[in-house]
Symmetry: C2
Subunit: 393 residues, 2 copies
């Protein structure tokens, strides 16, 4: 039951005491890692055996455990999420000069990976339900903005071919992977899922990252699990997995002693010492996700009755890892967003806004873009809340 939050107080005055007493008073960063398992043991094992580099059993163990957890046939461990996305795009066939559909709302790496592959991000709006790409809207936009030329879809304005779609599961909440898959198939596009934020999130019983040709995870220090820096690509396509594995090294042809290479390799493999950390973290993943979900309940208790806005809760039919807890201000309070952010930070509560819309950033200002009113709206009034797993016990 909602009740008025108070009379005459600013949104910051209302929100900050609730965060202090109820949840989120971390005294630390926005999303800090928790090492409560075998991290020290496995990392020490690496050092004692001398296997710290990309030759080492923890890389294979990490890949197998990750593939098993998400239900993919193959996982390839990569040096970080950006590089994983870059390599996945190359491996599914994105070529320099191609356009790639990217949501206007995402961490900048979604767009930069496209540029690193030599391609051009083409931004689209997101749904105000999932905060990710909506498949019906996407389909309508593609029909209106691209024309078929033989096997390819060309941008009517730029004349460039569209070759891939990269949706992202914002803050850990699954968007419509299956719907986007159908659009990708209809238009003959490669489909790479940016699941950097959504390890532990499911649409129905299907883990995010499995709907497309390949799915990408990040294990940066602020993610649900961390390997220091790290990422991974999952796929059910054995041939694609083999290509990813080959290109993520130096593309060396197996030989007893000869150094021969049949492609340009990226040297993007995750080192063994980082994978050791990852194996220990994966062992705790169910607990870490449960902590985030429990933290969400704690925020519901603290903020659920406020009328100044609403907590972002999981969409029907999905199970979210609640990677980053978020509070959506009522529209009329959007002008107070910066005051709230500054007020919280002044009070020692680590908050942040959503990312600036990608199509407003200098390096992407020349990239094609659909109108993105929902991106602009969400950006104007979302407050991301402290989300470290240590905030609940």
């Amino acid at each position: 039951m909602k009740r008025p939050d108070g009379v005459g107080g600013s949104a910051a005055d209302i929100l900050i005491p609730r965060l202090h007493t109820g949840a989120g008073d971390s005294g630390g960063g926005l999303h800090e890692p928790l090492f409560a398992g075998n991290e020290r043991k496995y990392v020490t094992e690496c050092i004692e055996t001398g296997y710290v580099s990309s030759v080492g059993s923890f890389v294979t163990r990490f890949e197998k455990a990750l593939a098993h957890y998400v239900g993919a046939s193959h996982a390839v461990a990569i040096v970080n999420g950006t590089s994983a996305l870059h390599l996945a795009l190359v491996a599914v066939g994105v070529k320099p000069g191609n356009e790639v559909i990217v949501p206007g709302l995402s961490f900048v790496a979604t767009a930069s990976a496209v540029v690193l592959a030599g391609a051009i991000p083409h931004f689209v709006d997101v749904s105000n339900k999932t905060w990710g790409i909506d498949s019906a809207d996407l389909r309508a936009y593609l029909i209106a903005s691209f024309r078929r030329e033989g096997e390819r879809f060309m941008n009517k304005e730029t004349g460039r071919p569209l070759t891939a779609i990269v949706p992202m599961h914002t803050l850990g909440h699954p968007c419509d992977g299956e719907g986007i898959k159908a659009v990708a198939e209809e238009f003959g596009l490669a489909f790479v899922e940016d699941a950097a934020e959504s390890l532990g999130s499911f649409s129905g019983v299907k883990h995010t990252g499995l709907a497309g040709n390949a799915g990408v995870f990040s294990f940066n220090g602020n993610k649900t699990i961390t390997t220091g820096g790290g990422g991974a690509i999952v796929t059910d396509d054995a041939e694609l997995a083999a290509r990813l594995r080959h290109l993520s090294t130096t593309a060396k042809i197996p030989h007893r002693f000869e150094f021969d290479h049949d492609a340009v390799g990226y040297n993007y493999r995750m080192p063994n010492i980082n994978a050791a950390l990852g194996v220990a973290q994966l062992e705790q993943l169910p607990d870490l996700v449960e902590r985030q979900r429990s933290l969400h309940r704690k925020y519901e208790e603290a903020l659920g009755d406020l009328t100044i806005g609403n907590l972002r809760s999981e969409s029907p039919g999905t199970t979210s890892n609640y990677w980053l807890q978020a509070f959506l201000l009522e529209s009329e309070l959007a002008p107070q967003r910066d005051d709230i952010l500054n007020g919280c930070l002044d009070a020692g509560i680590p908050v942040r806004p959503l990312w600036k819309p990608l199509n407003t950033l200098t390096p992407y200002s020349q990239s094609p873009s659909a109108p993105t009113p929902v991106v602009a709206d969400l950006y104007s009034r979302v407050i991301c809340l402290p989300s470290s797993a240590s905030l609940v016990s």
Copy 2:
């Protein structure tokens, strides 16, 4: 004093017993890391404090210690050597479609980094003295093969501009950095030194990697020191260092809470946990280099009197880290190279040849190349010997 090595025996029959009894009977890999210092302590500290990612004090400590050791003003820690070379090329101004001079003799990463930057490697021969690019030969080749067009030098055959030179210090032995610097200046070319193998190697009193606009090191598991996977870029140019640091992250503009980015970032920063390993390894670098030099003396004792070939020793005026010990067979024994390699491997002695000449590899077969007779000759008769620091105490 040389004496005949025996009558009627093959080169393998002569070499293998000497390696077994004298040196190199490692029972392990060709070049394995040695962790005898604070590796466990520092890595454990990372885990206990939670700082394992790119935010963390070990990255800064590693950069400062590395810069101090080599005598550079700035060092930027990167996720691996290939990525460091890629980013250095981008930061010094190499553009897609440019040509970049690369030695035909190098690990494949020297060429792949050029391709990752969108440019085309242009291979040149090496000197049979330094096993790296010779500045006089390079100058003569550039004059013959390129023509000046305004500020630029264009390949007479391909019409593409030449923008950079990337020499490499083969197996740790310094090549003519100062001479190449003069050529780079004469032709207005950027100069990036691939010092991946030469941490601890000096020309006179100057450390390798300092002659050019930027120098690149690798800390892969097989290098003199390791960070698991890792690399670094050193430079005396403060503006270049700032650009490298900015591009190696997500190119975020500093702000209390806003996510704004003014360039396409590479996300190539070294994680803190890898830097922790690196700080511990750097503390032992003088000892690790002394071990390699001592191992060379051990090989001199074991193999120095053989007439079937010669150990690779440091060139006059240089101090080598002897990263990889090497034995150069007499020319007439080149046809026995593979027998020796197989014989050693069968006997449990981890050896390998030099890398296949880069201009013979499939992905670079269409790249322009000078004639490379010295590369071909060295490739045909060098045996790289076991070089782990643990082979001496």
